[in-house]
Amino acid sequence: MPETLLVWSGTAAYGIAAILTFIRSGGTVRYQAWAHSLLWLGVILLALAITLRWVENGQGPFMTLYEVLISSGFSLGLVYALAISLFAEVRRGMMIALPFLFMLTIWASGLSTDVVPLPPTFDNFWLWIHLFSGKLFLGSLLAAVSLAGALLLQNNRAGQSDAEVQKLDGLVWRLASVAFVFDSFMLLAGAVWAHIAWGRYWAWDPLETWAFITWLSLGMLLHARLTFRMPLWLGWAASVLVFVIAFLTFFGVPFLSHTAHKGVM
């Protein structure tokens, strides 16, 4: 019960923060600092919910969609909050990132909280490395894409110099590049983990296939930026598309397929 209460409270914190990002005065978000504080509050509440569940069940939140959603709500929120602390400009994407985080947690709130045991062979050091790098990948990509999305949605660019737009664009690509490094590491760690857990490092199961396609899409995007003189909006739109593929890989494929990877992130 306290776990459910904490998840709901975290969801509420994300929800209110998301609403605050839409209240604007003079073209800027009026309650940006409040939204950032509520984001941190949501992260802390979800961390407490995960800790409680972990202590009670003796295993991490890896198996069910509910667990994956609350752990992603926490970890992506944390990475995003840290990204804001490192690069203040990332705040511009809050109106996309916060509703996204809210959506993850509200989705979790409607799901069964039943525990599915973690097989002993799954529980090894590389699972941690795999998950850690996976969360860092999606968190960095969320920071990049929410900024790209905000730039795309910004109709009125009055008062925003070309140099400023170039700087923000540079930040989008910088975060996307960081995401690519973590994505590469996630694939490597996942392969080692799969080798220990199932005796094969790569078998083209649906999740592996989609994880590879996500990595390839991001790699193609970074190559395309070097190859073509893409209009800025096209690059931003393409990065949003890569995020959609990553989202489906993380939250769709593992729960639709019937392979050993099912339910395990």
Partner: protein, 335 residues
């Protein structure tokens, strides 16, 4: 555009990457043709990369990026070597039985794999598998004995995460294990032969501990096994031979059935069958992948190269931005 120019162009790279993504998508819809689908664009990408390395001096000067791409190339080549030389097999062996390569079932066998299984010797010893109160399988401790060296016998424990490596082969225990009944057959001339019949995996198939068996006399019988004790719900337990100290074996024939305890015998067509004792059989997975470690190293170095490339690029960008800001501030002050 010359062929070399085409092969070294980034646009061509993008095209082949897109083809690879489509091939990957097709690979799990059509597993039978997956290798060819993936191998073709991967090979073209490898050629594209090699041409870029040799023809593009700007690319060569970006050491991190170069390292990353060479690492990727190494991963592809090592994966190919792995496919050619790998071996994957399964083994079911009973406590007290000596390892024999003939009882290994081959799952995958690369065309260049040189089978060395005949050089491996061990005797399967005691097996213990822990189960938690909620039925979760815990540690497996499968003990094997190696041939004595310098008069000292060596024992090794194999588990799900504790491999035994010998001659490049890696043995790991699996969830697959169960009871084996040890039987003796005495024919009408008085000749005796012994062997084991493995029952289905336990406790996975606890409800159906049965197996068909043809006696050396040619009679088909059904062997139904009852270990004498069941795992108690809500209590931790261990799977080991001792759990079956009260075991019963029912031998079902067309004429009727005979319930035997350890040591009992029954008369069948053309001989007599003795139920000697119960042991556990253990299922192992055997892998031979000599290139796997190097694939891992190549992948790690590739990612380190990629990280270094971006770090270098961004720190240069930061330094440049900071210089521009400083000179702008200088201009403002002097004004």
């Amino acid at each position: 555009m010359s062929a070399l120019k085409l092969l070294s162009s980034l646009k061509f790279t993008l095209l082949v990457m897109a083809a690879l993504a489509i091939a990957a998508l097709f690979s799990y819809k059509n597993p039978a043709i997956s290798t060819a689908w993936i191998a073709l664009p991967l090979s073209i990408l490898a050629i594209n990369l090699l041409v870029v390395i040799f023809t593009n001096p700007v690319f060569r000067k970006q050491y991190g990026l170069l390292f990353f791409h060479i690492g990727l190339l190494a991963v592809i080549l090592l994966a190919l070597s792995d496919q050619l030389t790998r071996f994957q097999g399964r083994l079911e062996i009973t406590e007290g039985q000596e390892f024999d390569p003939a009882i290994v079932s081959t799952v995958r066998h690369g065309p260049l794999h040189q089978n060395q299984l005949h050089q491996i010797e061990f005797l399967q010893s005691k097996v213990k598998v822990e189960y938690s109160a909620d039925g979760r399988r815990g540690n497996t401790r499968s003990q094997i004995r190696l041939p004595a060296k310098n008069g000292e016998e060596e024992t090794v424990i194999i588990g799900d995460r504790q491999a035994w490596e010998v001659q490049g082969y890696r043995f790991l225990s699996t969830f697959n294990k169960g009871f084996a009944v040890i039987l003796s057959w005495q024919d009408e001339a008085g000749n005796v032969v012994s062997g084991a019949v493995n029952m289905p995996s336990y406790p996975l198939n606890e409800w159906k501990q049965e197996n068909l068996w043809i006696t050396p006399g040619g009679q088909q019988v059904t062997l139904s096994f009852d270990p004498g004790s069941s795992p108690e719900k809500g209590r931790e337990w261990q799977l080991e031979t001792e759990r079956a100290s009260d075991a019963r074996l029912t031998v079902i024939t067309d004429q009727g059935s005979h319930v035997l305890k350890a040591g009992d015998n029954t008369q069948l067509n053309r001989g007599s069958l003795t139920f000697e004792t119960v042991r556990l059989w253990m299922g192992y997975r055997i892998d031979y992948q000599p290139w796997l470690f190097w694939q891992f190293i190549a992948a790690v170095l590739a990612i380190v190269g990629l990280g270094f490339h971006f770090w270098q690029k961004f720190s240069q960008h930061e330094a440049k931005t900071s210089r521009v800001n400083q000179s702008a501030e200088g201009l403002i002050h002097s004004a």
